[in-house]
């Protein structure tokens, strides 16, 4: 490490040598952390917290899939509808995630998971939402996605995936299958 000024005495030389050692040590630590960083993110799909390749918004041209939960009036014995709707036509009242301290990202991640919709996963969804519908009502989980058709104007469509009744569930037979 070169000092800006030429050393003029023995004490300057000692100081310079001390600084040189500090820089060498710092460089070794930086390189070691950098290599560990690279190895961990490379072998862990870009994420080994707090290391990350920061892939947020990196895939700009891929359609997204999000989730919305609605609180609707319906009985388990009623025949439920699986027809996709536009956002303004969503039935019932909103299930406000913020009121239940749930992050939208988590519901969307839950919905996008490839795991089978077995009783355990359905129970996990109830735990995440942290609430149960009252009698005569159900929480409906919608998959919300952009429909990109070159001949049609872009639209956002909501497909009902499942109804959570107070005691039971009903899954969209066209989209989901019970594990």
């Amino acid at each position: 490490m070169q000092s800006p000024n030429k050393p003029t005495s023995a004490s300057d030389l000692i100081k310079q040598s001390q600084f040189s050692g500090l820089y060498k040590k710092s460089r070794r630590i930086l390189i070691a952390v950098f290599l560990i960083y690279a190895a961990l993110v490379a072998s862990n799909r870009g994420e080994f917290w707090p290391f990350s390749i920061y892939p947020m918004f990196s895939s700009a041209d891929r359609p997204w899939v999000r989730a919305i939960v609605r609180n609707v009036e319906v009985m388990p014995s009623d025949s439920v509808h699986w027809t996709p709707v536009d956002v303004p036509d969503l039935p019932g009242d909103p299930f406000v995630l913020d009121d239940h301290n749930v992050l939208a990202n988590d519901v969307a991640a839950f919905l996008n998971s490839p795991d089978p919709w077995n009783p355990m996963r359905l129970e996990d969804l109830r735990t995440l939402l942290g609430a149960s519908p009252s009698n005569g009502r159900a929480f409906v989980l919608y998959r919300v996605e952009e429909e990109r058709d070159v001949d049609e104007p872009l639209r956002v469509r909501c497909t009902p995936l499942l109804y959570l009744f107070p005691e039971t569930e009903e899954l969209n037979p066209n989209v989901l299958s019970k594990g």
Partner: protein, 299 residues
């Protein structure tokens, strides 16, 4: 490399009391953020029953046990104690590494549903830097200089990696304005789900009607991220950090995604707090010596 190391660590520069006080406050802020996040994640993890998508340590170790017996709250308690003990310099060489390990465990327990968040990455990197400084340097001055230099390097690198990910993931067309439109619609859906209602703000409406403006916004963001390495150099450090604060504020306005921890840390590291502390101290000292001349006789 030598010049870069000097720019980052600056071991030769004499330290002022403002430098020392600033670092004490900065380290305290990192420990406070670590403690608050640990409790926030610990409480949120109580909504999670199983690991759906293992992350980090959870890929090698089944962390399902943390969801039982309110263990995430106990972890938060231990992290809090470790952060406070380390900050008070009570066994910091044990307290900080333990806090880091448990903080990581808390993160992978909280974000086990498949979607990760990056808002707390800088807090984790800061905790790691402070821990490395305590472990590898004896002199408190060297610890402070190393921790800050380490942060300039890895925070700068983080932004360059973020920009590179965009080019790898999408290519040069990443900054096309219609991508911003798609994200605005995506955020609209998320905010509808979160709040039950949502109206587009003025900036979002303007962007959705102006392709060129949307493209310019994304291009400016990408270039600012790429310039993150300028944090490594003293002369450009403040300016690029303030530009990155502007980038985060822009994203907050147009996509309604908040980055409070990123912004706070960038402002702490960008602005000349040590010099301001010295100025205030000198002014207070000058005032006290003027108004109380008899006290000078004691020195």
């Amino acid at each position: 490399m030598s010049s870069l190391l000097q720019q980052l660590f600056d071991f030769e520069r004499p330290e002022t009391s403002g430098d020392r006080l600033f670092y004490r406050g900065f380290e305290g802020a990192v420990m406070l953020a670590t403690t608050v996040l640990s409790w926030y994640w610990g409480l949120y993890a109580m909504k999670i029953a199983h690991v759906a998508s293992p992350l980090g340590l959870a890929r090698f170790l089944d962390v399902s046990f943390v969801y039982e017996h309110d263990l995430t709250l106990w972890i938060a308690a231990v992290v809090s104690i470790c952060c406070f003990a380390g900050w008070m310099r009570v066994a910091p060489r044990v307290a900080y590494p333990l806090a880091l390990l448990l903080f990581h465990l808390q993160y992978v327990s909280r974000f086990s549903l498949g979607k990760t968040a990056h808002g707390a990455n800088f807090v984790g990197m800061s905790l790691l830097g402070i821990t490395l400084a305590i472990l590898f340097f004896q002199d408190p001055l060297h610890q402070r200089r190393f921790a800050l230099g380490y942060l300039y390097f890895f925070l700068g690198l983080a932004y360059v990696l973020a920009a590179s990910s965009k080019l790898v993931g999408t290519g040069l067309a990443w900054s096309s304005g219609d991508h911003l439109w798609s994200w605005i619609r995506e955020r609209h859906v998320d905010l509808l789900a979160t709040n039950g209602e949502h109206s587009l703000n003025v900036l979002q409406r303007i962007a959705l009607n102006d392709y060129a403006l949307s493209t310019a916004f994304l291009a400016a963001g990408l270039l600012t991220e790429f310039a993150g390495f300028l944090m490594w150099f003293r002369r450009t450090r403040t300016w690029i950090m303030l530009a990155l604060v502007g980038l985060h504020l822009g994203v907050s306005l147009i996509l309604e995604i908040q980055f409070p921890l990123y912004i706070a840390e960038l402002l702490l590291l960008a602005l000349p707090w040590p010099q301001w502390i010295d100025l205030v101290r000198d002014a207070v000292y000058a005032r006290s010596t003027t108004t109380l001349p008899e006290m000078r006789t004691h020195y």
